[in-house]
Symmetry: C2
DNA sequence: AATCTTTATCGTAATATTGCAATCTGAAAA
DNA sequence: TTTTCAGATTGCAATATTACGATAAAGATT
């Protein structure tokens, strides 16, 4: 086997898993954080910022894009990447909900 | 190749990636959500709740535990699993910070 | 047009993940 | 003690991910 059985879970569960999985690599965390740091989102130098070869960075960007975490617009011969707020908000809400539900629950047995 | 180059990134980046990676699978999302749903955290029937074989569930639980997302206490011959609030809070804060920084930034060029 | 610059894609090797049957471990019950 | 039960571990096959060199694609520059 080796393939994830996505069809056995709800769409919501798969959606959260997809987003989390995309962030589940330090290079992609670093990309997100670099996109945050830079004021303008015309960022043609992500490759120089990361300790990885250009094809590897390109691949990570593609995965972030597929997961819906970043958007990319063609800007001349460079590409303008930036974070998709909606995706981040989804994650924030998800973990926020869990957090508040946990603190409300007094029966903390562990 | 094939191995993640964790030593090229900061501890913080690796920490977030580890947490996110652990949630990056629908079965593990389902486990977290089941632990939320059940009032008491003496949960010996996670296997029955998931569409996966017992060894597979056990492995997913192990990964969640290794990532620090859940805690497990031996309770007789069953095991009491529950969510580790701190880990969830870390994620909530992380995405919360990104979210607020993004909304403050008016230069939304994409 | 020829060249440069930037990013994507292809191909491939190394490693990791997913899933399960079989088996083991350890505590409780008979 | 023997059996039973819950859960972990082992071993293995299928698949996915990570990483990069080589190369391609496409707009910019000369």
């Amino acid at each position: 086997m080796g393939a994830t059985k996505t069809d056995h879970f709800t769409d919501k569960q798969n959606a959260i898993a997809t987003l989390a999985k995309a962030i589940g690599h330090p290079a992609r965390v670093a990309i997100i954080e670099y996109l945050m740091k830079v004021d303008t989102c015309i960022c043609g130098d992500i490759v120089n910022e990361l300790p990885l070869a250009q094809p590897t960075v390109s691949q990570h960007l593609k995965e972030l894009k597929n997961a819906g975490l970043i958007k990319g617009n063609i800007e001349g011969n460079a590409i303008c990447y930036c974070i998709d707020e909606k995706a981040i908000e989804k994650l924030q809400n998800y973990f926020g909900n869990i957090s508040t539900k946990l603190t409300n629950k007094k029966s903390n047995c562990c």
